[in-house]
Amino acid sequence: MLGYIVRRLMSAFLVVVLTSMFVFLLFFKGPSNPAEPLCNLNGKCTPEKLAILTEQLGYNDSVVHQYGIYVGGFFHDRTISFGPKYHCDAPCLGISFRTRNEVTSELVEKFPATLSIAVGGASIYLTLGVLLGTLAARRRGTLLDRSLVTFSVTVSAVPYYVIALMVWIYVSLQWKLIEDTSYHPITSDPLHWATGLALPWAVIGLTSSTAYARYSRGQMIETLGEDYVRTAVAKGVSERGVVIRHALRAAIVPIITIFGLDFAFLLTGTIFTEVIFQIDGVGKWAIQALRSPVDFPVVSATVLFGAVIIVLANLIVDLLYAVIDPRVRLA
């Protein structure tokens, strides 16, 4: 077990290092001149101004040297100068071209909104999905089961953003049922936090629960056919007891695995949610940074951040899976 954890940690670390190199190469060597958007930001970009900025930002140095400085910024403070000098505390991801703030502190500021959307949406769709799936499996073949399956197939066949956009436009803007969709920190006002995010949560919950409903329905039908379930029924355990204590516990393991992998996607997938519902999170921030002139430090930071989150989520799922499911043996 310990050996497995060490090996898994090492491979996760390797992936993070590779991703940081990839992001660095892409953003610092990919554009014809990464200093150009900065140069275009304040008035006319003259060749002299561009040359000064390129030199100041260190783009004339070798790639290895630049990467060293970039990675060094994660561990100790850096001073970045373009025009005026900016102090950047560790972990430093650069200075935003547009707002001239530290990218790290802006990221820390935007992340709670994204996390709130993801956590709230995920808890709704997980509960709803497993609940509906179990219900459909118990009433297999009935009208309820069939209409649930049809509904879930139809909803998951249409792209998420189409549904989200239509809900936003009609429910929020046109009919003004829930007008306020915005993020308020949970620490300052928990009620406002919940009401502000209720609509995005509901949309994520309803659209994503369909896949989980179908999946847990299949799992439940399978486990309900197992011998030990029949044994439990035979010895007189109540139906509720059989379904919850015996079947659901066995059926939920693969669902949890899928959920863990999904959660990472959900975090990055909130881009659509944030852009559509106008919530100030990491996703909307990244999309706004793309507007010309591109805010390269912000975009590169979000990409690196997203990648690290995904690696971490996978790591946690892999380790948890070994704990939850006794059948998984790791040598």
């Binding site: 892409l26 066949a157 792209p159 997938g269 881009i271 793309l290 591109v294 975009v299 997203g306």
Partner: protein
């Protein structure tokens, strides 16, 4: 070939050519078993949902293929910089809303589905060309990613040792990353690199979009194929082929591949709607293609006009929903038809 007869019939008919049956009398033909593909096709033919979906898809494909003809018949243009297109000042009023057609004027044959406010392109022309882009992107991405997935899956499954380990590592790594992140990273780079040349930018964005979709689209199939090959390679017909010295390439593509038709067909039919949704979604965020019409971009253009110009918004939304819905439902039907466990 060293296959037993039943296997051969199965494989040959899968490939659509059945020489073993041609020179036999009628009676023998009747008792010859149906191949899984034939069973699946006959099931699909009886499936009402699948038939309806195929009809819708054929219609949409026809509209996309005939886009130049349709636009010429109506005399409409998606590109306002087209020399023959009407001047934007002729079709748009000062407030940005169209002077002709919906929402405030009566229907006109000059612009059957209206004109886009502020941007001044014709909705019908943009819609049919956007459909064309969607279909081109999804077909290209599906075909190439299927080929890559099949080849890598076969290689990983059949070769024991480091080839398998390398391919499996890359598969797992890429499976963990969403393409959205990759597109977010790549899109500003491409825009800044080709910002001076519109023609090059347009080619670069569409190629990079298709490339990203391919890079992030092959792993599921590769994994599936690898799993199938792992079990198939222990079967007698493969072992026999190896023993008599059939070259590896021939074993892979002549012996193994025909047995993998079902997962490949299923993955193609479920992959298509995914790529359509991905392309439109990226364009909606402004990460997709620029310079070509796209349904996703039309949605993001139209979203602000939801209140007084609902038609403009519902056109692309309806097109995306119809296309993905019919492709997805067809994919589900195809999967059910190929699944030996489902009985009808």
């Amino acid at each position: 070939m060293t296959l037993d007869r039943g296997e051969m019939i199965e494989q040959e008919s899968v490939l659509g050519h059945d020489p073993s049956l041609e020179d036999q009398p009628e009676a023998a033909k009747e008792i010859a078993g149906k191949s899984p593909t034939q069973i699946a096709l006959s099931r699909l033919r009886k499936d009402k949902v699948a038939t309806l979906c195929i009809a819708v898809i054929v219609l949409l494909v026809l509209v996309a293929v005939l886009a130049p003809v349709i636009t010429r018949i109506f005399g409409v243009y998606w590109n306002v910089s087209d020399p023959k297109a009407p001047n934007t000042t002729d079709v748009l009023a000062f407030d940005g809303y169209p002077k002709v057609g919906p929402p405030f004027n009566s229907f006109t044959w000059d612009h059957p589905l209206g004109v886009a406010p502020r941007l001044g392109y014709d909705n019908l022309a943009y819609l049919v060309y956007g459909l064309r882009t969607s279909l081109i992107v999804c077909v290209a991405a599906t075909v190439i990613s299927t080929i890559i997935g099949v080849v890598l899956g076969l290689m990983a499954g059949f070769s024991r040792g480091w080839v398998d380990r390398v391919i499996s590592f890359i598969t797992d790594l890429l499976l963990a990353f969403p393409f959205l992140l990759a597109m977010l990273a790549l899109s500003p780079i491409i825009t800044s690199r080709f910002s001076t040349d519109q023609d090059k930018l347009r080619i670069a964005t569409i190629t990079s979009l298709i490339t990203i979709l391919i890079i992030f689209g092959w792993m599921g199939l590769a994994r599936l194929i690898r799993g199938q090959v792992l079990s198939l390679r222990e079967r007698e017909f493969i072992l026999a082929a190896e023993v008599i010295g059939v070259p590896t390439r021939q074993i892979l593509f002549k012996e193994l591949l025909p047995n993998l038709i079902a997962p490949i067909v299923i993955s193609i039919s479920l992959g298509l709607p995914g790529f359509v949704a991905a392309e439109a979604g990226l364009s909606f965020l402004g990460l997709g293609i620029s310079g070509y019409p796209s349904l996703g971009k039309m949605v993001s253009d139209a979203a602000p006009y939801y209140a007084d110009y609902g038609l403009y918004l519902w056109l692309p939304v309806g097109a995306i929903a119809l296309l993905t819905l019919s492709l997805n439902l067809l994919g589900d039907s195809v999967r059910d038809a190929f699944d030996p466990r489902t009985r009808r």
